[in-house]
């Protein structure tokens, strides 16, 4: 669906007219990125699942506010992320980054072939550890831009920041990350 704006716009228009089947297809297309976004915010898979589901339901009822022709993905991600932030707030906790790299997986699980890697498993782990040590805002902006590969505009929507803020916080976060890993191999 991504990269094919016409069918998506058509699905959104149908969903707006009450076609729940069409909306189901949109959910299917974006549930992965929505769930991972929520997961990065709440740090718990059951909560992320609830936040993503609730976000999609709320988005459906908010469709009449959706601007015709606008991209659907950042719009729905913003609603899901907002739901996730509320859950995290009501739980009164700050979440760490609860991810690991495939390289850290217990033996027996599929690991990527070492040749394909730009950086070694060990370097990946060191980099992930460094990201985990960042402050929450820094970690979130890095996660959105590089781990979820969201655009700057999407990152702004998801985090509820202005685009300029995303830009400046991202460059600051990268600087801190460089300092954390000691400038090693990354120019």
């Amino acid at each position: 669906m991504e990269g094919r704006p016409l069918p998506e716009a058509e699905l959104v228009e149908r969903a707006k007219r009450g076609d729940q089947g069409a909306y189901g297809l949109l959910v299917q297309a974006y549930q992965g990125i929505a769930f991972r976004t929520a997961y990065l915010v709440v740090g718990d898979s059951a909560e992320a699942e609830d936040a993503a589901q609730e976000g999609f339901v709320k988005a459906y009822y908010a469709l009449r506010r959706f601007r015709r022709g606008a991209p659907f993905r950042p719009w729905v991600l913003q609603i899901v992320a907002n739901e996730a932030r509320n859950r995290r707030r009501s739980a009164g906790r700050r979440t760490g980054l609860v991810l690991r790299t495939a390289a850290e997986a217990p033996s027996g699980e599929a690991a990527p072939s070492p040749e394909a890697a730009l950086i070694s498993g060990e370097e990946q782990k060191a980099l992930l550890d460094a990201v985990k040590k960042l402050k929450e805002d820094d970690r979130l902006v890095i996660s959105c831009r590089y781990f979820l590969e969201l655009s700057e505009a999407e990152t702004a929507e998801v985090l509820g920041w202005r685009r300029g803020t995303v830009k400046s916080r991202l460059s600051r976060a990268l600087e801190r990350l460089r300092a954390e890993i000691g400038e090693r191999s990354y120019a």
């Binding site: 729940q20 769930f35 339901v57 009501s90 950086i119 990946q124 781990f147 979820l148 590969e149 990354y186």
Partner: protein, 247 residues
Amino acid sequence: MPELELALVELGRRLEFPPTPELAPRVRARLAEPPAHRAFLGGRRVLVIALAVLAVAIGAVMAVPGTRAAILEFFHLRGVTIERVGELPTVSLQRDFDKLFLGEKVTLAEAQERADFEVVVPAALGKPDAVYFQPGNPPSGMVSLVYGTPEEPRALFTEFRATVNKVIFKKVAAGTHIASLQVEGRPGFFLSGNPHEFTYFDRTGEYRQEIIRLAGNTLLWERGPLTLRLEADINRDEALEIARSVH
């Protein structure tokens, strides 16, 4: 893209996120429900109907009635005290559903109108089959939602606004397991195992007691200004899922 950024993208592609759940069928199931009773868990499995008898405390008890058994432990939640005793006294088992002291049978709209708080519903359970309102005691009134038929109740959800010094008193025998937990960051207890007993004052202010023999378990928790109680044949995770669907 500078090398560090490339390395981060590569790292991101190697990260292990939990598997994405299949949300589309559940979202569609929820959209198909009428808005007030949208099933939060849509496609998830329906609760097993296995309760023998359901009952609930309706009143406020301010003192420990009687001293039949040694008190072993206390657990406190706002508006509720759970007392663990050596053994439960023998009392009759309440079987008549409409005599369960849940109060008057009303509609959900009437309950909302009369209760001194915003009535919440566990969307995961769908539309309640019966709604009861007990006025005056606790002072906010108490709303009970019953799911299933009187012959085969499958869940009971009760809500009231707790006050500091008026409490429902719940006794459990030594064999009942009490787990302290959090529901959306707020304290709660999950009671499983042996039957529990409620003591309470009924609407005339008279002290009553009731043994509740359940195939099911009970989750008691706080949400906003309310104290909530869910009783059904469910395990702890299922209870928590239903609790999270309350809105």
